[in-house]
């Protein structure tokens, strides 16, 4: 029983980070309607930025968010403008390949500049833990979880209550109608991509106190984020949050009770299953997913 609770807690904690990264993808996927296979590379760049700020200037990773988040926001805007916008009207297949190429380029630029080394930073709190009734909670992982939760809540309220947020949601719901209603869709695409990149970057910043950075660190996260978005449903922030937690918990339970080697296979299996049984996602509204599937 104690072990079960411990497994659950650990799963929820890592699930929070998955959720945050997936929220970034969901924004981009939902609003801009592009399958961004370079999503994990945004995470990778943020992790490198945080790493170098710490290494060179001794900046605390959490503090470096002040610099890294705006930087990656603009990087996202730039990607949308330079890479994605020209292929906005191309087929989904073409878009997939443009972003696959982008991911290849970014990974190997990282390799050229920073080599294949696995880089980690050392902080005073890297291995500090809280212990509550024999349940151990890693402090940086707890921080990651709480910050993820808070920022997803923030985004949720932004989308719900501000004018820009409503416009973004309108685009997710129906792109054409939104355009007809006078929403300047192209501009909001830039915003969505930038925001999506910033949220993903935040995920990277939260990961770095306990995770190494290397050129291909983003690859598994790209797939996880897609799985979470499909589970949670397109355009649904709460769905994405729950989907992220779900993947984290399933992975940890599978790893502990089946085999650590198969934890990825388990959630890939679940992914295929969900796609088949409920392609609109476990928590999704359905409409958006159907539509992008049609393209």
């Amino acid at each position: 029983m104690e072990l079960m609770i411990q497994v659950l807690v650990s799963g929820l904690l890592i699930g929070g980070v998955y959720a945050l990264i997936s929220v970034g993808l969901n924004l981009i996927f939902g609003v801009v309607r592009i399958i961004n296979f370079a999503h994990g590379e945004v995470l990778m760049l943020a992790m490198y930025a945080t790493f170098w700020l710490n290494k060179v200037y001794g900046m605390d990773p959490y503090l470096s968010a002040l610099l890294v988040l705006p930087a990656l926001f603009f990087f996202g805007v730039l990607l949308q403008r330079v890479v994605v916008q020209p292929i906005q009207e191309a087929s989904a297949n073409m878009q997939i390949f443009a972003t696959v190429a982008l991911s290849l380029i970014l990974q190997n630029i990282a390799l050229i500049f920073w080599k294949g080394d696995f880089r980690t930073i050392q902080t005073s709190y890297a291995m500090s833990t809280l212990e509550v009734m024999n349940i151990f909670v890693s402090v940086p992982r707890l921080v990651a979880f709480l910050v993820a939760l808070a920022s997803i809540l923030l985004l949720y309220n932004f989308l719900k209550h501000t004018f820009v947020g409503k416009a973004l949601r309108a685009i997710v719901e129906d792109n054409t109608v939104a355009r007809l209603m006078g929403i300047r869709v192209e501009r909001l695409y830039l915003l969505a991509f930038g925001l999506g990149a910033a949220f993903t970057a935040l995920g990277g910043i939260l990961l770095i106190p306990f995770s190494a950075v290397y050129p291909t660190v983003g690859v598994p996260f790209t797939l996880i984020a897609f799985i979470v978005v499909v589970l949670g449903g397109l355009g649904s922030m709460s769905g994405t949050f729950l989907g992220g937690l779900f993947i984290g918990v399933v992975e940890t339970f599978g790893g502990t009770y089946v085999s650590p080697a198969l934890k990825e296979a388990i959630y890939f299996g679940i992914f295929i299953l969900v796609l088949l049984v409920r392609p609109q996602g476990l928590f999704g509204k359905g409409k958006g997913t159907e539509e992008i599937g049609l393209k």
Binding site: K115, R119, F136, S138, F210, A212, P220, T252, P260
Partner: protein
């Protein structure tokens, strides 16, 4: 119409020309150098290549082999398919009869197959999978230790040193293996199971995991349940760090015994700080070792610093340096000839006792081309350094029981 078919022809001819562009100038002694130098294994692949490169620079400074200077034709075997076609290219296009390499076992398996089938000599300096020298090929040689040698050193150390420390018989010591699930981790874990049997040590659980994971808590939970006396960990760089960090977070409190790979790296120590203290490890010879046992090591480190403007990242460069020098000794005997029979005769006649090379290894090739005198050493992280602790001849200090 006509023009189009001409352009197509021109195009095809151009492609052929591209793929067949000529070899480097003659008169040099050319050797293929095949390492993974991009992709996920780039870090230690590059480090391995550096060791061979230093040996090459050194011999050329001394006038080369029989007056010919040594030139490497470098090749990147970043995955198995690439290793295969690069070996083909080196042998068929560059007309080389001798390749050295290759750090990663799966790449080595593919490349040695190609070389052996074409009767070219393959000189393996760093890959440890047992099977590299177990296929009965007459032209494949290996100077470094095998996975089985690693496991044997570990088992012997557990039986002879750890068991008495725990006040147990070797047969009462319980061992768990946590290994990453690529060919490296899997083959080392298998070897350990076999070696443990020889020493009567019980392996109570085996936990494979994928090296690119960002959470190893499932492994920790499973280890906590089995509660072994010592954990044999077979890890690459990032997962070695993660495993130790999470072991500390969950206060696992079981001694960790690394198996080369990530546990030897400076980045492992940097990431863990004082938590690294006491972690045991078995590996190729590293730099904190009794210098009487490893003549030439200090000179190597100095050369490395002079050439690459930094400290060696791991012992991989040293092992490749030592192996390349052995290769040059053989070539000096054959006067630069790589004709397989002459090479084999010279190689099998090599006979150096242990403690006479920069790694401390001796040189005596078995019929299968494996160097029989390349035993890995046991070391322990002490005061931020990976200090050799066993066997006695190589040790700088005695091992202590990790907390």
């Amino acid at each position: 119409m006509k023009r189009q078919s001409w352009t197509l022809w021109l195009f095809l001819i151009g492609l052929l020309a591209l793929t067949a562009s000529g070899p480097v100038a003659a008169k040099d002694l050319q050797i293929g150098a095949l390492y993974p130098r991009s992709g996920s294994l780039a870090l230690l692949g590059e480090e391995s290549w550096r060791g061979a490169e230093i040996a090459r620079l050194e011999i050329n400074k001394k006038g080369g082999i029989g007056g010919d200077s040594v030139v490497f034709v470098n090749a990147d075997g970043h995955d198995v398919a690439a290793a295969h076609s690069e070996a083909e290219r080196l042998i068929e296009q560059s007309k080389l009869g001798l390749i050295l390499g290759s750090y990663a076992s799966s790449r080595s398996m593919a490349a040695t197959e190609v070389a052996a089938r074409k009767n070219a000599v393959y000189f393996e300096l760093g890959a440890i999978a047992n099977s590299v020298t177990e296929r009965g090929y007459q032209t494949v040689y290996r100077t470094c230790a095998t996975a089985f040698n690693f496991s044997k050193s570990q088992s012997k150390f557990i039986a002879e040193w750890l068991a008495p420390q725990l006040k147990k018989k070797p047969s009462e010591v319980k061992v768990s293996i946590a290994h990453e699930d690529s060919d490296y981790g899997t083959s080392v874990a298998d070897s350990f199971k076999n070696a443990a049997k020889e020493f009567g040590i019980q392996v109570v659980s085996v936990e494979p995991y994928a090296a690119n994971t960002s959470d190893l808590s499932p492994v920790i939970f499973r280890l906590r349940k089995t509660a072994p006396d010592v954990i044999i960990a077979v890890s690459y760089a990032q997962d070695a760090i993660l495993l130790s960090r999470q072991a500390a977070e969950f206060k696992l409190g079981i001694p960790l015994f690394g198996t080369g790979g990530g546990h030897s790296l400076k980045s492992f120590q940097e990431a863990l700080g004082d938590k690294v203290e006491g972690v045991l490890n078995v590996d190729f010879t590293q730099y904190e070792v009794n210098s009487a046992f490893t003549p030439g090591l200090k000179e190597f480190v100095a050369l490395y610093k002079a050439t690459f403007k930094e400290d060696p990242k791991s012992g991989h460069s040293l092992a490749n340096y030592m192996g390349t020098k052995v290769l040059f000794d053989i070539l000096a005997q054959t006067k630069g000839s790589v004709e397989p029979n002459a090479f084999r005769k010279a190689a099998l006649s090599m006979n150096l006792p242990e403690g006479t090379t920069s790694t401390g290894w001796g040189v005596k090739f078995g019929e299968n081309g494996q160097n029989l005198r390349a035993d890995p050493l046991i070391m322990q992280w002490r005061g931020g350094k990976l200090v050799t602790v066993w066997p006695k001849a190589a040790a700088l200090m005695d091992a202590v029981l990790p907390k």
